[in-house]
């Protein structure tokens, strides 16, 4: 029996998705064990074995794939509990890392502290060496000085060392020599070189990425070793893969070297899962959103490819390796509503969190939150929150909104609650706008895939504000990320800075660099068990108009023989002008352009589980009708039918206004929307004045 398991370790719960060979899937949940997360993981595997009425050993031996998402590195950075890390850089440039380019976000506010350093100044060493801007070694590495630094690092119990020297992306000679001395002198320490992790121009961004890699590397390596050991001892012989920030997965060995790639992997499963739910309807242009307790994540997917950024950030430091471009805003169920000094309503970014949480949780919270507003407006049932596990206190919610919002604005509690609802919707809508319109893509031709406990309460309003015609709501939002993990391919990113004016470009040199990257990628993917015919390379070129300081990424065609031809360059140029225009409102035909970086994303296709479709039950949803209650829409309360989501099946139709309740989420269907259950029992919502097949047809046509 070939089982597959997706494991998503969250702050409170660890979610498991178990899929068997027939495509039947089941969800499991255990409490996370932050001290050693592998305990929580083993507990979950035990539960699954019990569920399947097998011994753990038998289950593990039948388990062919585990895809594992972990926030262990993320938490280490956010709480500054990483490894004791040393950092080595070029003499004269000791503080580039901690200067963080000299920015302060809140410009008018002199009363807060900068983010605490990842590596303190006392732990940053410099050595004499210099490469010039053309890649020449003008000062060779001072090896005597380096030997002394290695000795100091050895004596002082550092667990990891990050190295990044000036222009090492052009010529890694000095850095490699330094790395060799470190590896010889410190065989037990985690050593990370910028020329191995990110050979790309921009010193702070490179330094920061390497420092973070060193800072979390030992922790991740140790955790993976523990986990592998536990699994192996239990009889597991399948594949273990680790979720990455770029939406792909990697083997444990590669992940241990590129630990920085897991830092932003928490929300990365979402977009990949979104891809899967879109694919059910043949849709590849999507925006996935996830609204939880404290934050809202939005990601654009174009032609089945999630957007990528190199502007990632964590704990005030930059991660310049490619990661999924996910816009995160402080908008969630716990977001706090307040009235500022000018009498303006604000919602978020501060959150009441889970403890004390929203006022209606009855745990002593007095802040008015989005969840309180959702309760007052009738979207939430006080007796069926988390399937009835938790009773909500409507009186407390009323008091909180009255005190913090209604009185200050001179409006009723209901108006105040509607205001909070509207305001948080607008904030999220702007987040959606940032990933779509601001990047040159029209939301009218995208579908919205919604996850997170609070997401489906607000989804229709976001879609309406952005003219998004179709909303997909996967059943059971917890499945969302775990399913995404099982759907992920292996993905490795490579970059080489090759700065040259496009008209002076030497095609054979470009081809040579691309081939080098491809060979590296092929070797890595093959070591991870991917046969050559499942390796899919995608080359990109970062380009800009001569003299610009930021680049636009454009696809670089390359023939199967590894050739780059003259006409490929003119195609590249055309694509660049078009993309620049779409992004920024202008392009400059005829102006000189330059190539900066060549990139490769190499995908190793994994074998995906198939999910079993459910039987069509026809449109009648009346069996699922629970009751009616007063729910606020637009200007007032309306008597609204409430359906039990667990009793809804493939084919069932619901006409707004309506509420659909699931144990972990609630779907609000406004009066001008309809809702239908699709072949996998997921929900699909669309405006009443449109026909579903027409919308889908139009979205497909625009792909």
């Amino acid at each position: 029996m070939g089982y597959k398991v997706g494991i998503d370790v969250g702050g409170t719960f660890t979610d498991f998705l178990l899929v068997d060979e027939q495509g039947t899937f089941n969800l499991f949940k255990t409490l996370s064990t932050p001290k050693d997360p592998s305990i929580g993981v083993t507990n979950g595997l035990n539960e699954m074995a019990v569920f399947l009425e097998k011994s753990l050993e038998t289950f593990l031996s039948e388990l062919e794939l585990i895809v594992h998402g972990t926030t262990i590195t993320t938490n280490a950075v956010l709480t500054r509990n990483g490894a004791k890390t040393a950092f080595i850089t070029t003499k004269g440039f000791r503080d580039v890392l901690n200067m963080r380019r000299g920015l302060r976000d809140r410009q008018y506010d002199g009363r807060y502290n900068p983010p605490p350093p990842i590596v303190k100044r006392r732990d940053i060493f410099t050595v004499e060496e210099r490469i010039d801007c053309q890649g020449n070694v003008v000062t060779p590495l001072n090896t005597a000085e380096t030997a002394a630094v290695v000795e100091t690092i050895k004596q002082n119990g550092y667990e990891a060392v990050g190295v990044s020297t000036l222009f090492s992306f052009l010529n890694p000679e000095n850095e490699k020599l330094l790395g060799g001395m470190l590896r010889d002198g410190l065989p037990d320490q985690y050593i990370s070189l910028s020329s191995e992790i990110l050979p790309q121009v921009r010193m702070y961004e490179r330094n920061s990425s390497v420092a973070l890699n060193a800072y979390v590397g030992p922790i991740l390596s140790k955790y993976i070793q523990q986990l592998e050991k536990r699994l192996l001892e239990g009889g597991f012989q399948g594949n273990l893969l680790i979720m990455q920030s770029n939406g792909g997965v990697m083997s444990p060995e590669v992940t241990s070297r590129f630990a920085v790639n897991t830092l932003l992997s928490g929300p990365a499963g979402g977009p990949v899962a979104g891809l899967f739910f879109g694919a059910i309807h043949g849709l590849g242009n999507l925006i996935t959103v996830d609204m939880g307790g404290t934050s809202f994540d939005a990601c654009l997917i174009r032609e089945a490819q999630p957007s990528i950024t190199i502007d990632g950030e964590i704990g005030g430091y930059r991660v310049a390796l490619p990661t999924l471009y996910i816009e995160t805003l402080g908008a969630g169920g716990g977001s706090i509503a307040s009235v500022d000094g000018a009498g303006m309503l604000q919602v978020g970014p501060e959150s009441a969190g889970a403890d004390p949480g929203p006022a209606c949780y009855g745990k002593g919270g007095t802040n008015a939150t989005v969840t309180d507003a959702d309760l007052i407006l009738g979207y939430l049932d006080p007796d069926y929150f988390h399937g009835g596990d938790m009773k909500l206190d409507k009186m407390a919610a009323t008091r909180a909104i009255e005190e913090n919002v209604a009185k200050k604005l001179g409006v009723s509690v209901n108006e105040g609650a509607a205001g909070i609802y509207n305001m948080v919707n607008i904030n999220m809508s702007l987040g959606v706008n940032l990933v779509s319109v601001a990047k040159g893509y029209d939301p009218r031709f995208l579908a919205l895939v919604v996850a997170g406990g609070a997401g489906p309460i607000h989804a229709a309003m976001i879609a309406k504000d952005q003219d998004i015609p179709l909303i997909l709501i996967p059943r059971g939002s917890s499945v969302f990320c775990a399913a995404g993990m099982l759907m992920s391919d292996l993905k490795h990113d490579y970059v080489r800075t090759h700065a040259v004016e496009l008209e002076k470009v030497d095609c054979s040199k470009v081809a040579q660099i691309c081939t080098e990257m491809l060979n590296e990628a092929t070797a890595t993917l093959r070591s991870e068990g991917i046969p050559e015919d499942r390796i899919l390379p995608e080359f990109k070129a970062d380009m800009r108009y001569l003299g610009q300081f930021n680049e636009v990424s454009v696809s670089l065609p390359m023939s199967a023989q590894g050739l780059v031809r003259e006409q490929d360059m003119s195609y590249l140029l055309e694509m660049f002008h078009a993309r620049h225009d779409a992004l920024y409102g202008y392009s400059m035909a005829g102006a000189p352009t330059e190539l900066i970086n060549l990139r490769l994303q190499a995908r190793g296709e994994t074998v995906k589980p198939t999910f079993k479709p459910s039987q069509n039950h026809g449109p009648d949803a009346s069996k699922a009708l629970k009751n009616n209650r007063q729910v606020f829409f637009d200007k007032g309360f309306v008597n609204t039918p409430v359906y039990d989501g667990l009793a809804l099946h493939h084919g069932n139709m619901i006409f707004g206004p309506a509420i659909v309740e699931e144990p972990t989420t609630t779907i609000v269907v406004p009066p001008d929307y309809n809702l239908q259950c699709d072949t996998y029992d997921n929900y699909i919502m669309y405006p009443k004045n449109r026909k579903l097949d027409e919308i889908i047809g139009e979205l497909k046509a625009k792909m």
């Binding site: 920015l103 002199g110 801007c133 921009r202 000018a342 303006m344 309503l345 992004l583």
Partner: protein, 581 residues
């Protein structure tokens, strides 16, 4: 129709306006050609209404923002009823266009609803070349505006949507770095286009009537917020004066800015009577720049969350006598005002306010003191122009917080992104030798100032012109501490020639740089806050271990006795030294 606007709708709309300004700013940052826009973010984006009132803004460079209302007033006066849909208007003129100074090009696009003017989208930024005989717009020998580069009164880059070729040609053919200026003008035009797209969408969603009413309420409520903040400052009259090094002509005479702040209930007046008459050199501040600086000094002291729109600005009463360094008259030179004079005005206001609200006021930031340079780079075969923005000084400390390191200059209030040293070398004929924190540069205090910077580079080409357009090289103009905190050493500049000779670049002076020259800069840190002898011993020790504070300074300035070998504190000796019997 006079209905009361839903307070929630006005909150939503205010959010939308902010978002539009941010998006315009993103466009500028990502598409600019000059490092001054894209790396140093020396620009601002804003939305104005049909009456020329500022509704929202995104100031990457704080000091540019407050002058925008002066721009828009002049520009609307200039064109009167000749403002058409599809126009894009440009000006850089400090007198005819209400600009801070000439290197900033202001681009404004009127946005129409039907045939009615509804909004303006505005993008203003510092250009790399204005055609002046100076360096990146800075000309230390200029004694009038006519020597400070091309003067562009309000002109139309586009007229009714049609590209106005003659204006573009006239501008671009008068400057050296044509392709950069052309690129950045396109980038600004593109940003206002993005603003137009967004505002048109909002207009069609909400309708103009309701938006107009909401705007009134947004501005009025901001005014109420601002007045409530002013009322928290104790009534009284507070005075201070600060100096600039000199004007580049009379090198022995410091130039004075004097302020008297009068607070009565919800009213605040900034009276600069007594400031020096306008001078020959370029440190004269235009009225727009002075007003902008007053906003900056005040907004960095009171609630930072106040919306920086017309509602807030209308609460500020400014008295700046015409013909002085804080309100210069045509044709006074004024290019250095956004740096030198802004810092000086801001310091005078903070120093005065430190008497009224010491718990809110910051100690002085390091003044800007580093050159702009310009020349030909033989390696790339192109002209280059650069401001050495790596020389960021320290910020001043406040009650409870150390100043931020490497954050200056105050004109930018922490929005100035330091350039990347690698990209810098790829464009310029320079080799950076050192770029680190400068030891003992921070002003001691219970909360210390931010660290200054040690920055030096070797010149790899001949015939490069430089001009230090900042100041702060004298003890009188170095950052001060407040509430018992100490000030810092002045900044220090030196050019070393290959033959062993040296030249003092001073300020406002052309210095030619040639192959092999080494330019060394020690940029000051920020002023400290509170008695340094009250700084916790462990924090002083931390700074010593991190190599930011010397063992000597730990003793002399902080009264902490550190063993230089073991880097440990002698607690008993420290106690005796800090509290002598």
């Amino acid at each position: 129709m006079q209905t009361k606007i839903d307070p929630i709708f006005r909150s939503v709309l205010a959010n939308r306006f902010d978002a539009v300004c941010s998006e315009m700013g993103e466009t500028m940052m990502l598409t600019s050609r000059s490092p001054i826009f894209s790396e140093a973010r020396d620009f601002v984006t804003a939305i104005f209404d049909a009456k020329g009132r500022m509704i929202a803004q995104k100031p990457y460079i704080a000091v540019l923002a407050g002058a925008l209302p002066y721009n828009m007033t002049k520009l609307m006066e200039w064109y009167g009823d000749d403002i058409m849909d599809g126009d894009v208007i440009l000006t850089n003129d400090p007198y005819l266009g209400g600009n801070n100074h000439k290197p900033d090009f202001t681009v404004a696009r009127p946005i129409f609803k039907g045939d009615q003017l509804a909004f303006w989208a505005v993008a203003k930024g510092h250009h790399v070349d204005t055609g002046a005989s100076g360096v990146v717009g800075y000309n230390p020998t200029a004694s009038s505006i006519f020597e400070e580069g091309l003067r562009i009164p309000p002109v139309k880059l586009y007229r009714k949507g049609r590209f106005n070729r003659s204006v573009w040609n006239l501008i671009l053919k008068n400057i050296r770095m044509e392709f950069m200026v052309e690129g950045d003008l396109n980038c600004q035009t593109g940003a206002t286009k993005v603003g137009e797209r967004k505002l048109k969408r909002a207009m069609s969603m909400y309708g103009m009537d309701i938006m107009d009413q909401a705007i009134e309420e947004i501005l009025d409520s901001t005014e109420r917020h601002m007045r409530a903040e002013i009322a928290k400052i104790p009534d009284g009259v507070y005075r201070a004066e600060r100096y600039m090094d000199h004007d580049g002509f009379d090198r022995d005479k410091m130039v004075k800015v004097q302020v008297e702040i009068r607070v009565e209930g919800e009213k605040i007046t900034f009276d600069f009577t007594g400031s020096d008459p306008q001078v020959r050199g370029s440190i004269n501040s235009t009225i727009g720049n002075t007003f902008s600086t007053v906003c900056l000094a005040l907004f960095t002291t009171i609630d930072p969350e106040i919306r920086k729109n017309d509602g807030a600005m209308r609460c500020i009463d400014l008295i700046a006598p015409p013909g002085t360094v804080v309100n210069c008259l045509e044709p006074a030179a004024c290019t250095s005002c956004t740096i030198c004079t802004t810092a000086c005005i801001c310091e005078a206001i903070w120093l005065a306010l430190s008497e009224a609200v010491p718990h809110l006021t910051q100690a002085a930031w390091a003044r800007w003191s580093a050159p702009a340079t310009m020349g030909f780079n033989p390696r790339t075969g192109r002209f280059f122009g650069d401001i050495h923005f790596m020389c960021k000084g320290g910020a001043g400390a406040t009650l409870g917080y150390d100043g931020w390191d490497h954050l200056g200059v105050i004109s930018c209030a922490g929005g100035l992104r330091a350039p990347d040293p690698e990209l810098h070398e790829l464009v310029t004929p320079y080799t950076v030798l050192e770029y680190e924190y400068l030891k003992d540069s921070a002003g001691p205090g219970k909360w210390r100032g931010g660290m200054g910077t040690s920055y030096s580079w070797r010149v790899d080409a001949d015939g490069i012109l430089s001009d230090n357009f900042g100041d702060g090289l004298r003890p009188e103009t170095a950052p001060f501490g407040i509430a018992g905190g100490k000030g810092t050493r002045p900044s220090k500049l030196l050019v070393r020639r290959p033959d062993g000779s040296t030249e003092d670049p001073d300020v406002h002076k052309y210095v030619e740089l040639n192959k092999g020259d080494i330019y060394e800069i020690e940029e000051a840190g920020g002023g400290g806050y509170g008695n340094p002898f009250e700084r916790p011993v462990e924090r002083v020790l931390d700074d010593v271990i991190d190599g930011l504070v010397s063992v000597e300074s730990a003793k002399d300035d902080y009264g902490v006795i550190v063993d230089p070998g073991k880097l440990s504190v002698d607690m008993a000796a420290t106690e005796r030294f800090r509290n002598p019997a």
